[in-house]
């Protein structure tokens, strides 16, 4: 395994080891580029994952201080926990559900398609679906996505069967067990899904793709990739010419280290990535690194989300088996006649009893609440996930008072739903309930959004430097050797789960970086 010197200024330093950072690291290492990944969290291998929601949360979740504001309910119910993401090697690919969908063509050109939506900071991506298709294909092959590359779909569990029966009764057409980066048959040295459930708690069998046990060990095997766990980046430094020169980070003991770098790629998820850029402000870049547009931290998106749980006369046991292997795609298209632009997906979802109690209706108590929980074994559930509107005022800023243990200001997350988000959620609740009513639900529960799992858009791509933070390759408009490699580069959120697009962009970015390095452009 490689070990690079702190003064080796030839390495690419990647901050974060999730879908973006972990993939980029492996792809570069495969091309012979020397890479150091700084990962804030510890390295926890899959056999150590825990099939217990709260214990797993303690083991994996990013629980460092953050603050919240805005009218979203999360700010009230979980004021210190705006996002449910992972602090460990593999990042949020450890707890993601595995849903791997391509954007629709129009979702790369939302400004052109939706027009002027008051309050929305819409912009077309500087890249099209046609350009992305070959990269999507590579990502699907890498991740082993079901229903691509001849890989069969996963078998449907009880929760899916309820969803499917209801969807068909309603007349929905595109209903299946999803495009999942979970092995339905052994592939790439990993076994097939054992229907354990607990996909969100880390896949103990390794059937679900995670950079932790795919990209990262593959990259390490080349001798070109070093992953440093428990290494929290605190500042990116630059020289007098404005090029970045390295990353200062706190190591496992809390001691500050400085890793020199030829290139820095930021992939710390859409809350930490802008925080790091803002915390890297200097005399030359007083508003933060890569922030001449003022867009760093802005346009924070978290998807329109919500859930519908329904109780039936007889048992479902929704928690058995793959958590999210089930989808209805009929509402994903853009059909403004419904009263909103963009679309949404309906995907199976289940929570165990402990998280159901915590998230079904946070703060609720008394008989209406306990009656719902008494229905737990007879419950089916779906997640609603749709495109939300980017808004300049939905934003990650540096908290003026709260600091982390290294003295750095923590991220403050402000979010208000856009009227389009609210209209979409109302429609989705109605349709989700109708799916279950069609097969005899005795009661349905429209469940509010959980702390965000899809954090997007805070360092967005733009064609023109004034409109965003990075170009079509995730390269900073302002600083040539600084890249953004996670979901924060999304110009808009699309309806579907973001990981496949993050991976496709990372593969493409690796190609671009390696080429530019070879041509001595950076």
């Amino acid at each position: 395994m490689a070990k690079f010197d702190l003064n080796d200024s030839g390495v690419v330093v990647i901050v974060g080891s999730g879908a973006g950072g972990g993939t980029l690291g492996n792809e570069l290492a495969q091309k012979g580029v020397k890479v150091v990944i700084l990962e804030a969290g510890p390295r926890i291998e899959n056999q150590d994952f825990i099939n217990d929601e709260w214990d797993s949360f303690s083991q994996l979740a990013w629980s460092d201080a953050r603050t919240t504001s805005g009218t979203w309910r999360v700010a009230k119910d979980f004021s210190g926990l705006p996002a449910w993401i992972v602090k460990a090697v593999g990042g949020s690919t450890v707890h993601w559900a595995g849903a791997s969908l391509r954007f629709d063509e129009h979702e790369f050109r939302v400004k052109s398609t939706y027009g002027n939506i008051p309050g929305a900071n819409l912009l077309d991506w500087p890249v099209t679906l046609a350009e992305m298709e070959p990269w999507y294909a590579k990502a699907e092959n890498k991740m082993g996505v079901t229903r691509t590359n001849g890989i069969p779909g996963l078998p449907g569990n009880n929760n899916f069967k309820v969803l499917e029966a209801g969807a068909k009764k309603l007349g929905y057409k595109t209903v299946h067990t999803g495009n999942m980066a979970i092995n339905s048959q052994p592939r790439d040295g990993r076994g097939s899904c054992q229907q354990i459930g607990f996909c969100f708690q880390g896949c103990k069998s390794g059937a679900k793709w995670s950079t932790l046990y795919t990209e990262i060990p593959k990259g390490e095997a080349t001798g070109n990739l070093e992953v440093r766990p428990s290494s929290m980046a605190v500042k990116i430094e630059h020289d007098a010419s404005g090029k970045v020169t390295g990353v200062v980070y706190a190591d496992e003991q809390g001691a500050m280290q400085r890793q020199k770098a030829r290139i820095v790629a930021v992939a710390g998820n859409s809350i930490e990535s802008p925080r790091l850029l803002l915390n890297s402000a200097s005399t030359m870049f007083p508003d933060g690194l890569a922030n001449s547009s003022g867009q760093v931290g802005r346009n924070y998106m978290r998807h329109m989300t919500g859930s519908v749980y329904a109780v039936f006369e007889k048992s479902v046991h929704m928690y058995r088996g793959t958590t999210m292997a089930g989808i209805i795609r009929d509402e994903a298209a853009n059909n403004p006649k419904r009263g909103f632009v963009g679309g949404y997906e309906m995907e199976t979802l289940s929570l165990g009893l402990p998280f159901m109690a915590a998230f079904l209706n946070p703060g609720a108590w008394g008989r209406p609440f306990t009656a719902a929980l008494d229905g737990y074994p007879r419950m089916a559930g779906m997640w609603l996930v749709g495109e939300d509107m980017p808004q300049e005022t939905n934003r990650i800023t540096l908290d003026p008072t709260v600091k982390d243990k290294f003295g750095q200001p923590v991220a403050s997350v402000h979010f208000d739903d856009h009227p389009n988000d609210i209209a979409m959620r109302a429609h989705a609740y109605k349709q989700g309930s109708a799916v279950y009513d069609a097969v005899g639900a005795t009661v349905t529960y429209p469940t509010p959004p959980y702390p965000s799992t899809h954090n997007l858009g805070t360092n967005r791509m733009s064609e023109k430097p004034r409109d965003g933070v990075v170009n079509k390759f995730g390269q900073s408009h302002d600083v040539k050797n600084l890249f953004v490699s996670d979901g924060s580069q999304f110009t808009s959120g699309a309806a579907c789960n973001p990981t496949l697009t993050i991976v496709a962009l990372a593969i493409r970015q690796a190609d671009y970086i390696a080429g530019a390095m070879q041509k001595k452009e950076i």
Partner: protein
């Protein structure tokens, strides 16, 4: 379909046997009227037994599940005594919160909170203090301490950890048999 055995494995008898060991042998032998049902509350050191018993009632009223015996609720609230022993602020929070509730109960019903016969009447009193720090802390703690008990899970048809059993691939992940034919 494979149903989950929802019978209590955390039986009342076993629980009471455990609690009874804390009762002085002499008292039992002498036939002194020791309320075994309340023995758990007498073990409290920082909070009074009466406070603990009222807290139990409050816990039941916050998350009423009629199929669950008191033992699960006692397990959920008992740690407050330990926390109160360590932190005077916690002790005051719980003691004062219960006192206020009892006071409101006496003003309205002439009896202490736990003596009000109907749950719906007690819930009115809880509703009034819903925004208080006392209620918020007790409810926020209880939503984890009650529902995160592994002994509680089968009572709700939840099976918990599955990886060590080979997942559900051969244990009913797709055994639903009552849906209409698609």
């Amino acid at each position: 379909m494979r149903e989950v055995d929802r019978r209590s494995k955390h039986s009342r008898r076993i629980f009471l046997k455990g609690a009874a060991t804390a009762v002085p042998v002499a008292a039992v032998a002498a036939g002194v009227a020791v309320n075994i049902e309340g023995a758990w509350a007498d073990e409290a050191s920082a909070l009074t037994p009466a406070t603990m018993k009222t807290l139990l009632k409050v816990a039941r009223d916050i998350y009423p599940h009629d199929a669950l015996g008191d033992s699960y609720y006692i397990t959920a609230i008992k740690p407050w005594d330990g926390k109160a022993a360590k932190d005077p602020a916690v002790k005051a929070l719980i003691s004062d919160g219960i006192s206020r509730l009892d006071q409101n109960a006496r003003d309205r019903h002439k009896v202490a909170y736990a003596e009000i016969p109907w749950e719906s009447d007690r819930v009115v009193l809880l509703k009034e203090i819903e925004q208080s720090d006392f209620f918020q802390k007790v409810r926020g703690d209880l939503v984890v301490s009650l529902y995160n008990q592994k002994e509680v899970w089968p009572r709700f048809g939840y099976e918990g950890s599955s990886a060590e059993h080979g997942g559900y691939i051969n244990r009913g992940f797709a055994d639903i048999d009552w849906l209409p034919k698609a």
